[in-house]
């Protein structure tokens, strides 16, 4: 494993994962993962398909039970206690078309003061929902059924949902999975903007190395174990990526932005 150093104290650690091992379908997906994410960072998890990125993210919020190892959020090993400080955006929602939950109702489920949405519509909380949606430019979607939203619209709504409780840690599992190519770049810009404005620790799983290069402050390259970690410049070096992906990676220019030697896509 290669890595660069990052100078933070232990109290600054938002997520700590020690020797995490997870087996799925008889196959060991994570084989002793160690990571320490510092507060305020925008951390990217990269790696080939099946490298355990999503499994690691799910283990961080208790959705995936590990065989062994330890996960702590803000120093708390009881993840349930730490979850109120966490926003989570899953890869996709398997929504049935017959489920006609509106965006307004969906967002209301997140807040204690709006959880009785069936009985009344509270003006203040309605204003809060509207303001949160407006921040991400999605105010017009409030009365649409969530099952009818496009991939990009749904991801925006999911981010608003996660941000409503003003979390300290935001986890995003391939947030542009359902977003078309032109929308991808602005979407990562939006995540970067949310990260700066809310002073969050953001962890995102991504396949788009050029976007990771532009926005992430720290990168972990996974392939069952952490192959390398460090600044994007360090991890995106051809050697580091070869170690993670076991393949050659061709650099390319993304939308006119010049990237370092590793800014590109997996070939």
């Amino acid at each position: 494993m290669t890595h660069t150093t990052c100078s933070h104290s232990a109290a600054d650690i938002a997520v700590s994962v020690r020797d995490l091992r997870v087996t799925l379908g008889g196959q060991q997906v994570l084989r002793g993962v160690n990571i320490h994410l510092h507060r305020g960072q925008l951390v990217a998890l990269i790696g080939p398909n099946g490298s355990g990125k999503t499994t690691l993210l799910r283990a961080m919020v208790g959705l995936q039970k590990p065989d062994s190892g330890d996960v702590r959020l803000f120093g708390e090993s009881n993840l349930k206690k730490a979850l109120p400080r966490v926003g989570y955006v899953p890869q996709r929602l398997a929504l049935d078309r017959s489920f006609i939950l509106s965006v307004r109702e969906f967002l209301a489920l997140r807040l204690r003061e709006t959880q009785h949405w069936f009985w009344h519509r509270h003006r203040d909380t309605d204003d809060r929902l509207r303001a949160a949606m407006a921040e991400l430019g999605a105010e017009s979607l409030l009365d649409r059924p969530i099952a009818a939203l496009s991939g990009g619209q749904l991801q925006r709504v999911l981010i608003v949902f996660a941000l409503l409780k003003q979390p300290d840690l935001q986890l995003l599992d391939e947030p542009t999975a359902g977003v078309d190519s032109p929308g991808e770049e602005s979407f990562y810009d939006l995540i970067g903007e949310v990260h700066r404005r809310h002073k969050l620790t953001v962890v995102l799983v991504s396949h788009d190395l050029s976007m990771v290069y532009r926005h992430a402050s720290w990168v972990y390259a996974l392939n069952g174990v952490v192959c390398c970690e460090g600044t994007p410049e360090h991890v995106m070096s051809a050697d580091s990526l070869k170690e993670a992906y076991g393949l050659n990676v061709t650099p390319y220019q993304h939308h006119g932005h010049s990237h370092g030697p590793g800014g590109g896509t997996v070939q």
């Binding site: 989570y88 929602l93 006609i100 969906f106 489920l109 009818a148």
Partner: protein, 275 residues
């Protein structure tokens, strides 16, 4: 003068059970349809037949409790097989549905004096609704209805995404089991009125009709309750008035509302289907 004085007591009992169970099934149905559990509901209804047969075999005059218990056993078997095997959920349910029906019919065919019961339980029998059934339905409706309304938010979140629900602090495993328990009890106790074959329709059709007209979940829940109430009331009245079987009459009343809602949705509201 009492307007109910001319009506047969059995009819009043059937009416009372129908107007109580109709909205309850419809409310449950909103989440059953959205969570793609209609076949699950059908499987536990058919599982009841084996419970009824076992009840008679064990000497029960009224097989209600063996019926409920066996339906719960079938529901538990579905959940266990889903978690501990690689079988598809549909395969598991088809297996248990056909197995329960086959077992129930074999046992009933062996009990010569109970062969007539098969028809009553398959298609429902208005005459079999006793005074105790009315009280059971009312208590059940009050308890389960109150529980469902306190759990609307966690249930809606669970339906949208189990992962999100977990991260938001919902005890997803517990809520899933509680929902299955409630659905099983309500479906198996509605069999008296509607019969094994038709009982799922009261869970599925009112929310489907409401879905045609509603713009959000709140509207769908309210409309489902109203349609379930109307279907139960109109079906039993039609059954009495025209001397037709009660279960099919309730189902046809619900289907009439569904067709009406579909026409209104397409012709008047011009509601497009979601992609």
């Amino acid at each position: 003068m009492n307007i109910f004085s001319d009506i047969e007591p059995f009819m009043l009992r059937a009416f009372a059970v129908a107007v109580v169970m109709g909205p309850l099934c419809a409310l449950l149905g909103v989440f059953v349809t959205a969570r793609r559990m209609a076949f699950f509901s059908d499987t536990i209804a058919h599982g009841a037949l084996a419970g009824i047969a076992l009840g008679f075999l064990l000497g029960f005059e009224d097989p209600t409790w063996p019926m409920v218990l066996f339906s719960l056993l079938v529901a538990a078997a579905i959940l266990w097989l889903k978690e501990h095997t690689d079988l598809l959920t549909d395969t598991i349910m088809a297996l248990l549905l056909s197995g329960s029906v086959a077992f129930g019919i074999i046992v009933l065919s062996m009990l010569k004096n109970k062969r007539g019961e098969l028809h009553r339980y398959l298609f429902g029998d208005i005459l079999s609704v006793g005074p105790d059934d009315v009280w059971l339905a009312v208590v059940l409706c009050a308890a389960i209805g109150a529980w469902l309304f306190t759990k609307l938010s966690p249930l809606a979140l669970l339906t949208a995404s189990e992962d999100l629900a977990h991260v938001c602090g919902v005890r997803t495993r517990w809520l899933n089991y509680a929902f299955v328990l409630v659905l099983t009890v309500v479906v198996s106790l509605s069999i008296r009125l509607l019969g094994i074959i038709l009982v799922t329709s009261l869970v599925v059709i009112p929310p489907a009709a409401a879905r045609n007209l509603a713009r959000n979940l709140r509207q769908q829940i309210i409309l489902s309750l109203v349609i379930g109430l109307f279907g139960g009331a109109a079906g039993t009245v039609a059954s009495y008035h025209w001397d037709i079987p009660c279960g099919p009459a309730i189902v046809m009343a619900c289907i009439a509302v569904f067709i009406g809602s579909l026409l209104v949705s397409k012709l008047w509201l011009n509601r497009p289907t979601t992609a």
